[in-house]
Structure formats: structure tokens, C-alpha cells
Amino acid sequence: MKRDVLIVGAGGAGLYAALSAVKENKDLDVAVLTKVYPTRSHTGAAQGGINAALANVDPTDNEELHTFDTIKGSDYLADQEAVKYMCYEAPKIIRAMEHMGVPFSRLGNGKIAQRPFGGASKDRTCYSADKMGHVMLHTLYEQCIKEGVEFLNEWFMLNIVHDGKRAIGVTAINIATGEVELIRAKSIILATGGHSRIYWGYTSNALGCTGDGTAAALRAGLPLKDMEFLQFHPTGLRKSAILVSEAARGEGGHLKNALGERFMKKYAPEKMELGPRDLVSRSIMQEIREGRGFKDEEGREYVHLDLTHLGEEKIKERLPQIRELAIDFEGIDPIKEPIPIKPTAHYAMGGIHTNVKCETPIEGIYAAGEAQCVSVHGANRLGGNSLLDIVVFGNVAGKEAVRYAEGTDFADGGEEKLKEDIEFINELMNKESKETLGDMRNELGEIMFKHFGVFKNEKEMQEGYAKLKDLIERAHKNLGVEDKSKIFNLDLQSTLEFFNLLEIADVLAYASLQRKESRGSFYRDDYPKRDDENFLYHSMITKNPDGSFNYEKGEVDISLYEPAERKY
């Protein structure tokens, strides 16, 4: 199979890239390859909204303030020109999506409504009740169908193939048949989403957010950037870790400890519940650590998110999905009772290193979306900035990929890699499993949450890293595929996803140990302060053929604002 532009991933980033690509040049073959049906992609789970300084609610808002809030929120690790680009594109791309049919919630005067969100100085978050991602994903999908984008649904990408200089294609399994193929492409866009599933059981993410593209990039010798930065969202449901959107606090929800105190007054006296996520998550964990949390019969510790004072009407109109989730997954109606919540692993700031044009160091290979790290989120992403990032950079990637494909031919080679992958799969299929995949995944989640969680320190991390290494070794020795059929083999797929998770967890752990400071989402008890002198850099990691890591320091663009202390 051959396609001019091959986009891997059908979330917001992949679909926007596809749309831009077909609109840019109708004569090219543009295909989207995705392991799940496009509208299942995790973008659909995004609830709260998307940021753009439209100034519809607060006329004093503008792109510059959005830029500054994002940089401050990032704890000064974001690349400032890149942030500026994103924030100035924001109003345009929101309006473009409005004209594609996204059903934004509206103000009385008919303009797009905006709500307050954590870490933002103005009411800037555009929304569609609490189903922003869902309506974006479906709208973009419909527009892709309209424009004739080709979909390769339920194909699983295994590896990225290049010749050291330029893209050759990707290897992928057609899940329905089990056949492994080399799909040649002039340009490839990796839009494979995040990897928070390394915190299995402690994450808001869908089962498939396993960082496949990021792990494949690492195997292909591409650098991963800022992998130690993974954000914990303050409000996951107690039992399932399913997300309760920041919109709940944006609309006026209160966080309360077991004494009934709005404890955020101690940690962020001004912004209270609307402090940035890293700060609110740490505050919750601090309350729990100091014994002011709740504990249920199964030993789960949590605090309360209280919406009861908002009243039935507001909850039903603005937060209907959150109410449905609380009822379905906690058995609690937020109109009547507070919701039990705890922090949940949520968003990967780190990912495949690219520049502002979404280029990786290999020609013809691009990345966009949560899988990518430009970086516009630095050490901590603000709520509502990811949906923005994925469409802004999806758009860029689509155009750049077309530009490259127009000027080049298909590259030769890659047969070796295909053979290798087929052999690897056959081996896995023939191996008897000595351990249970489900148990091993849980073990990974436990290790990561305990040792690389909201609070970290050297001792905990070293212990955790040893456990992780042991798990990785056991997985490679003991894990095989039990389902022996070729047709729709999800056992094989889950096993491959698990190997990807292990690879990512390894990088994350390694990168965490190198950073001896606290910045944004990355917090160490033993180094509680930010240290710009020694650590104001992007960590860049590549993997050597022997499995060891190369660690380099990438420059941070601080050309617009001098790093300052963050206060909320």
C-alpha cells in the first residue's frame, strides 16, 4: 500500500491534519490510519472546553494575555514564540471550527460563550456544555467524510520506517485480518495521542492511550522531549479515576476536606479552586497526607468536590455529562451530594520532539497533538489548551506534510523492517504466557503511581525504577499472546500496547531521576524549588541500539517573558 500523506491517529490532531491536507492539495492521496474507529478517539472524552481570546465575555482579554497565562502556567518551560503562535491562531481556528458546525454554547447575544478555567486570567474557555471534545471530534470526522478523506479503521501501527534521512512509511497490522503490511508514505504525521495509561488504574485516559506513536518514535531513533512532565488532574472519580472536568470548578464547584473546609484558601488564596492543575492536585494530596481526607471501606482516600450549591438547573444545563458520570460510576447525584474525587494521571506534556513546523529530525516525519512536544505546555498544561494545541498544530502538520509530499517521491527500502516485525509478532504469538497481562498492567500502574506520582523523591524513584526494570524483564520473558487466531486479535494488540507502555514508563522514570528540581507538574519533596540556573532546559532522550538512553539538554525559548516565580 502507498499513500502520499499518511496520518496515524484520528483524534482531533489527526482529523484536523487530514482536513488541512486535503484542502491544501486535492490531488494527493491522504489517508488516516487508526487503531479505533475515528469517533472513539480519546479527544471525544474532553469535556471542559477550548481556549481562545475571543473576548466575547470579557472585552479586556486578548492573545497576549493568553500567551502570558500559558507561559506562566507552564512554569516557564514552554517555548515562548511557539506559545505565541498558538494563542494568536486560537481565535481564527475556533471560528473556522464554528463554520464547520461545532455547536458551541452561546451567550444571549448569539456569540460563542466562554467560561473561567484554571490558571487563566480571563473568562477564555469556549465550550459546548461539558462535551467539547465530543462535538469537536464528531464535527471534524463529518468534515473529513465530506472532503473524501480515506480512513483505514482498526489498523494498528507497529513501527515507523525511515532510512536515516527521510520517511519510508510505517508497518501496521490490519486488525480484522491480522496481516502485517508496510504502508509507504511520502510524509507521515504521528497523531497517536498521549500515554497516561502508564498509570494504569490511576488515569482519566481511555484504555488505548498507550503512547504507541511515542514509543515507536523512540524505537525509530527520534528524540522524545520533556518526558518527566505528566500532569495529574485534580478531580478524578474516586473509584474509576474517570475525569470530572475542570468545568465543574469553573462553574463554581468547591473542594472540601473531611473537616468541611475549602482548603484551597491555604494554597491559592486568590484563585482558590481555579489555581493551575499541578497546584490543586498537590494541595489535595497534601490534605490527604496530613489526615484531612476521607477514606472509604476499601481504603481509597479522597476529598469532596461539592457542586450542590450550584443548584439543579445550572448543573443540568452546564454540567450534564459530569452529572451522568457521577451517577453511573459513583452512584452519586451531584445535585444532592458532593462527589468523591482524587487526582488522576491525565495529560502528557512530553512527547515526540518537533519544532514549530511539527517537523521531527527525519524529513517527512511530523508529529501533532498530545503525542507531540513542541513545547507549548512546558511543565504544566492549562485546562483548555490541549484541544487548542491539537487543532492548531494538526493544521500546521497537515500543511507541512503536503508541502513535503509535493516535492518528493516514495522512498525505497523498509522490507527488512517489515520482515523483522512479522517475525517479532510470530514469536509473540507462539509464546506461552507465564504471567497474566491484566495483573502486569496493574502492577505497572501501582509502581508508577506510588513512585512517580504527584510527590516524588530520590529514594522512592530509585526503588520504583528497580521495580520497573524487573517488571520489564519479566514481561519480555514471560508474556506471550494466548489468543492464537489472526482475526481481530485484541490480545495481541493489548500485549503490544503494554510493551509500548513499558518503554515509555522507562523513559519517564529515567528522565525524572535526572531532574533535580520541582517545576510545574513535576514535584520532588527533596528538591521543592524550581532551579532555573541548572534545569531551565528541555530534556531530550534518544535510545541507543543497546537499550541505554542518550540524554541531552535542549534550549528553552524565553525570548518574550523573563522567568518569574508563579503565584496564584
Partner: protein
């Protein structure tokens, strides 16, 4: 409890039977996950596990449901739970069915918004105007309505409940620039009037959408109904 799961591979189908306990708040998806930990060849789709992605549609004691949203305790009858793939779609393996009809039907009814892109200003729309079609945008393409629809028993060319809900969503969206009657004519080519009001779509929809009502509203808006003399609304 006795749990029966219908299996299918290479044209062979059979039931696996298990004796299992279940937690009071356990979802059917969680129960299936437990079984799969023991038999990893058991195949079903799941993704978000929070009823927003529409992946996990199956049948439990003959009702079409989202496995992740449905509690075991709400579906067992006589201490038995029978899990099967949904109807009206080709089974690929175990509980996994072919869902290519989704894209196909959206294409057939022109299920997309039509407008010129203008990055300098947005369309205006009041909250009241949004309300007219807001509910319909909740559809997660889970297909439950399609798998249950009686009209499809008679004619496979019926676009299906969710597809008409999409048409409704555009016809009643004040911003959409395609001619409303033209949208309705396309819906008619896809057998808008074949709905037999069985209500099944409304009953199964996990998002509380009534495609039946949407179809009725489209029929009422039709300026050129096929049998205007004899047709009686409601």
C-alpha cells in the same frame, strides 16, 4: 450467577458458561474484563470506559446496551446473564461486529455541516436556537438504535435512526447553509418515511435521544410529503 457469553470464530459459534460472583456496582464491561483476564481470546471492543466513545455496544439478556454504562445487577434475570453480539451487523469475532455502516450511512444522508469558512467572524446563534438541535449532537455513534430498529428488518436501505438524527441536527441548526428541503429530500431517498414508530431507538439510546421523534419532526417539516392526504401525524 450464571454468565453465558456467545463466542464466534471462523463461522463457528457457541456459548461459554461461567459461574461468577459480581460486585453490586460492577459494570458489565468490568465483568467481561475479569473473564478476559482468564481467557484472553475473548474478544470485544472497549475504549473510554465512561460511556462517551460508543465502542462497547453489545447485547445483555437480549437488550442492546453499552457494556461500560450498564451495571450487572440491573440486567440479570433469574440469576443469569447472557452476553451476545448485537443484531443486524456481521459478526467478525465473538462480540465484535462490522461497523462500516456508520460511515456509509453518514455519507448517504450528507451528514455534515455546510458553510463557508470565515476566520474573521463567527455565525451568531442564540441559546434558544442552539437548544433546538443541541440534544441531537450528543449522539456517540454507538449504533444501538440501528441494531434494534424494526424498519431495517424490512429494508436495509433505511438510513437508520442515528443517521436521521444527524439530518435533524443540520436541518434544525440555524447556521447550516444547505437548503433544508434538499436535506429532507435526501433523507427521503434514504427512506425517511419507512419508520414504523416502534420506539425501539428511543428506548435503547444511552444518550436519551429519540430518533423516532427526530424523524417525525423531519416529516412534519417536509414541504412535499409523499402521501399528504392520508398521512396523520401522531
Amino acid at each position: 450467577m450464571k454468565l453465558k457469553i456467545k463466542r464466534f470464530l471462523n463461522n463457528k459459534s457457541y456459548f461459554d458458561e461461567y459461574e461468577v460472583d459480581f460486585r453490586d456496582d460492577e459494570t458489565i464491561l468490568e465483568l467481561l474484563d475479569r473473564i478476559r483476564d482468564k481467557d484472553r481470546s475473548l474478544t470485544y471492543r472497549s475504549f473510554c470506559r465512561s460511556s462517551i466513545c460508543g465502542t462497547c455496544t453489545i447485547k445483555a439478556n437480549n437488550k442492546t446496551i453499552l457494556a461500560c454504562k450498564s451495571k450487572v445487577k440491573d440486567f440479570i434475570e433469574n440469576d443469569e446473564l447472557v452476553i451476545e453480539p448485537v443484531d443486524k451487523a456481521k459478526v467478525i469475532k465473538d462480540l465484535v461486529v462490522d461497523n462500516s455502516f456508520l460511515e456509509e450511512k453518514i455519507k448517504k444522508v450528507n451528514g455534515w455541516f455546510v458553510d463557508e469558512i470565515d476566520v474573521t467572524k463567527e455565525n451568531l446563534q442564540t441559546p434558544e436556537e442552539l437548544k433546538k438541535y443541541d440534544k441531537q449532537t450528543d449522539c456517540i455513534l454507538c449504533g444501538a438504535c440501528f441494531y434494534e430498529c424494526d424498519a431495517l428488518e424490512y429494508d436495509k436501505n433505511f438510513a437508520g435512526p442515528f443517521a436521521f438524527t444527524k439530518v435533524y441536527r443540520f436541518v434544525f441548526d440555524s447556521r447550516d447553509k444547505m437548503d433544508k428541503q434538499q436535506r429532507i429530500e435526501i433523507a427521503k431517498e434514504n427512506l425517511l418515511y419507512n419508520c414504523i414508530n416502534c420506539q425501539k431507538c428511543a428506548i435503547v439510546c444511552p444518550k436519551g435521544i429519540s430518533s423516532m421523534m427526530d424523524i417525525k419532526m423531519l416529516q412534519m417539516k417536509d414541504k412535499n410529503p409523499p402521501f399528504s392526504d392520508s398521512f396523520n401525524f401522531f
